[in-house]
Amino acid sequence: MPWELDNDRPIYLQLMERIQVDIMSGKYKTGGKLPSVRELALEASVNPNTMQKALSELERSGLVYSQRTSGRFITEDRDMLKKMKHAIAGEQIKAFIEKMKQLGFEDDELCTLVTDTIKGENK
């Protein structure tokens, strides 16, 4: 199945996000090897040059590194992975709060709502 991509944002950014999430979720193991550009491009049904750009950007961020002949690997720096996970979570939470504000929830109201929902789910 091609990856689900939005129409209004650059494709390479969305590929980066998707690969980041796949690394966080453990689909690709810490320290493990990433599939080749071509394999990933085929899986996502995107242009190989765009996939190449996404991977180069991830390399610049330090999340993956390339070894000249054997391909790209995921960093073993767990601190960095943790930081990245928090950064992604932060963005999601901000977006969520924004939406709730639009619905007219105040901060404390929102907090109770969230804790109640979590408790409800944990029962």
Partner: protein, 232 residues
């Protein structure tokens, strides 16, 4: 490295009508390029000029630094917008004909793709549906090891599942030194596969940029931008 395609001041005139007018374009190697424009904007005229099927009224076109001719036909693999095969022939015979005609044709690749799309090569072309005939033609064109693939409306008549297969074929056969130039109206379907898009309007190049630049600067897809620019 020399660009694979260069057009300078390219013009095609029919009486008072300019099908193409002073078009300048340079394409580098290793890209998948969408040639987009409304009906009658000059897409097929440009494609025919590149293939040497039309002679320019003015300006020039060069492929690999060569004028269109016998040598450039070796470099270009071209899918016309109309059927170009003898439809009474069996597919196996057509494949043999291509293998005979083009030194860079891979019969192995052609038969593999025919198999993947469940097309029986022992059948005569005219016994197949319109969409399947189109698939056969595209398979033949993509089975050549060319430097420039020019596909005029390659996915128009085929079903969405086969469209996915064809796009995957384009991605997986893609080689770093080859450029694919394809014209289509099905922008949304191919947008993710393209590096670059060319908008052509009234025989002139209206836009030449990458897909992600459009998304970054306009915050919209190529498909939406097209609908906006060419709104009727």
């Amino acid at each position: 490295m020399t660009p694979i395609l260069e057009c300078q001041g390219l013009t095609k005139q029919y009486g008072n009508f300019y099908a193409l007018s002073n078009l300048n374009l340079t394409l580098d190697r290793g890209q998948i390029v969408g040639l987009l424009g409304p009906n009658g904007s000059g897409k097929t005229t440009l494609i025919k000029l590149i293939n040497g099927l039309l002679v320019p009224s003015d300006g020039m076109v060069s492929i690999n630094n060569l004028q269109p001719g016998a040598e450039t036909k070796q470099v270009i693999s071209y899918l016309p917008d109309k059927n170009f095969l003898n439809d009474w022939e069996k597919i196996t015979d057509i494949v043999a004909y291509f293998a005979d005609f083009y030194s860079n044709f891979s019969s192995e690749r052609a038969f593999k793709m025919l198999g993947d799309l469940n097309i029986d090569p022992s059948k005569r072309l005219r016994t197949l549906s319109k969409g399947t005939q189109e698939k056969v033609q595209l398979i033949l064109v993509m089975s050549r090891n060319a430097e420039l693939y020019i596909l005029d409306e390659p996915i128009g008549g085929v079903d969405p599942a086969a469209r996915d297969y064809i796009l995957n074929t384009i991605i997986s056969n893609y080689n770093e030194n080859a450029t694919i130039l394809l014209s289509t109206h099905l922008i949304a379907d191919i947008e993710n596969v393209l590096d670059r898009v060319l908008f052509i309007q009234n025989g002139q190049l209206a836009l030449n940029t990458t897909v992600d630049e459009i998304r970054m600067q306009q915050g919209k897809s190529v498909d939406s931008l097209f609908r906006e620019v060419f709104k009727c």
